[in-house]
Symmetry: C2
Subunit: 388 residues, 2 copies
């Protein structure tokens, strides 16, 4: 067929890049040991606190999100100490792998892919074992799209075990859901540049509460590049301990400006519009959502019986230039995943929905042509009626 396509990211990371942030990241030469970097870093720290809704330090680490996960674990838990690891999918399993590598005594809470944690179970487990010093979990499990009730978990943990440290991987969640670091009592919250921050990968953010600092200060374990105490000292002074990803930090200023332009709540609500329209379409097609309690960052859909997810993904890429994802871990070959993180708008979500309908149909799903688009348009109209 005689046409061409533009390559577009609809994966739950990396995500569409913000052009003005990309330009900022290359346009001004900046040396990280000069005063203008200090002033840039201070602006960014202020804005990150607004995004994280915290008064805590928010440190930048030049690594992917997994590096910040490693930093959290190795700074908080010494060898032989106990940690509760909550596992609901591939990224929960990453916490497990890290804890195993670093000789942590693991108290696991495992639930099936697609499920969300029971906050009471987490707080009870913690209350029942005073040796557990830290809890590690995801705010939203990227591999399944399942949202966790971080507010309730945070509040129950603070109630039952105020000394324990709650570590939340919010890499996919940040910027796509209301997230109240201080009000919910989240000690460490982790974000990554390649998600709702609309930047290339390579920069992670990590907020650290006083409660967490106390534990980090007495945690005996060798660490170097990921030494958060050293980073705290440097970054409180407007510096970084090591050469940082300067260009990404320059881009981050522009990304934060967009995220905070009309308040972070408006920015996260944008993901809800894209997710809601996509799910309205799925309902019209009779295609099920995979997670019981889906968050707005990712829509994970169960492939209809007899339809190969890899075929849907390949048609989307080859015929429409749209990159979507398949399942990870035990969900490989069973689901497809679509990201709504960051820089998406309704026009392209509508276009993606129409193309997904054609791809589903070609891959063998019995979908009524036009039904998904109509449902997405009606979803928009319903919201517009409520919030003009």
């Amino acid at each position: 067929m005689k046409h061409f396509t533009k390559q577009r990211m609809f994966t739950p990371g990396p995500t569409p890049l913000l052009p003005e942030a990309l330009l900022q990241s290359v346009i001004t030469p900046l040396n990280h040991r000069k005063d203008d970097f200090k002033s840039l870093l201070r602006d960014i720290q202020r804005d990150l606190r607004s995004v994280f809704k915290t008064k805590n330090d928010v440190l930048l680490l030049s690594c992917s999100g997994s590096g910040a996960m490693e930093a959290a674990l190795t700074n908080l838990v010494a060898p032989g100490e106990k940690a509760l690891i909550a596992v609901a999918g591939k990224f929960g399993e990453r916490w497990l792998e890290l804890a195993e590598k670093y000789g942590v005594r693991i108290v696991p809470i495992r639930i099936s892919y697609g499920e969300s944690f029971d906050p009471v179970q987490i707080s009870e487990t913690l209350a029942g074992d005073p040796e557990i010093g830290a809890v590690f979990l995801q705010a939203l499990e990227t591999s399944t799209g399942a949202l966790m009730d971080v507010e309730k978990i945070g509040k129950l943990v603070k109630q039952r075990r105020p000394d324990a440290v709650l570590v939340v991987d919010a890499i996919t969640a940040l910027g796509t859901m209301p997230l109240e670091t201080d009000a919910w009592g989240l000690d460490v919250v982790i974000g990554g540049s390649q998600k709702a921050f609309m930047l290339p990968p390579g920069l992670a953010m990590l907020s650290v509460s006083q409660n967490a600092w106390t534990r980090i200060e007495r945690c005996a374990r060798p660490r170097y590049y990921f030494d958060l105490l050293r980073e705290r000292e440097a970054q409180r002074g407007g510096q970084t301990a090591f050469t940082p990803s300067i260009s990404l930090i320059q881009g981050l200023r522009s990304a934060l400006a967009l995220m905070l332009q009309d308040g972070i709540d408006r920015f996260t609500a944008n993901a809800a519009l894209q997710a809601g329209a996509t799910r309205a379409a799925a309902a019209a097609w009779g295609v099920s959502l995979f997670p019981k309690r889906p968050g707005d960052a990712v829509t994970a859909l169960v492939a209809p019986a007899g339809v190969e997810p890899s075929k849907i993904i390949s048609i989307m890429r080859q015929k429409f230039g749209a990159m979507i994802s398949g399942g990870q871990g035990s969900m490989k070959g069973k689901i497809i995943r679509i990201g709504h993180l960051g820089y998406f708008d309704f026009l392209e979500t509508l276009g993606m929905i129409g193309c997904l309908e054609l791809a589903l149909s070609e891959a063998g799903a019995g979908v009524e042509i036009g039904s998904g688009s109509r449902a997405a348009l009606e979803f928009y109209l319903n919201i517009a009626r409520r919030e003009p």
Copy 2:
């Protein structure tokens, strides 16, 4: 409503910019009096000949399309000489204005906005008046979306008056329709960077046949910046007569690479897909096409009774970030126009169609929600069945 939009061009010029062309236009410092510019210009001349389908000179002029129109007229027609000016809309009126300013004796052929010329009328008029030395017309009248039968006009003119020069403003048409400069006998064909060439405005292209050069060589009229003989001499030597728009010329190389990647016919067919999908939606809405014989560069739609075009345009911009155009000249307030020139793909056309449906509905048109998207998807499937 809590969401944001990306600004997108769906106007019939300027059009969406090609990112790799923009980067090329700024990344390498280039001096137009050095050898590497010569080699760039030679590559571009070769590729432009493929786009124009000609062995003629294709000159670059650093100006908008209107500058190239002026160059054509002032180089071909001396004061007091006669020219046939064919007028079907605002850009035909521009030929008239130019001819009046420069003391040309005008033989006008005027048709209503939305109509296309009768090739026989043009050739008969020409045959009946041997004093007419040149014919000026549009291949596609941007203000109405009407396509002219340039093939038939060209062939009839060559048959009846081989000495006359046929000048075709193809600024909007080039890259959106098959256009055979040599095979159809088109003496001068004009293009502009801000249309299907996917670049910012500021650069025009103009092909000149031997027949046209003969007339230009004997045309007595002062001209300086737009002296095509001086440009011919310079550009045959890999130079330009004056400082050219260097960055746009650098970008043009990338744009031409995309246009010729799978052959220019495939590139123009892409516009046909976008136009066809948009028109299928319009038919489903019961909204009429304005021109009798629409080209694929622009879809001009008659606003439904009681619906203000300016309201549709404003909703598209304010709520969905999509820029579309209204009518020009006598069509102001009566039609809306949507461009399909250059860098568009099906995903965003689908998204635009869904948003246009919402905008029409909000502006008071009785459209069935989802009907346009469904028609566009079915249009795609019909083409895909024919040309897999």
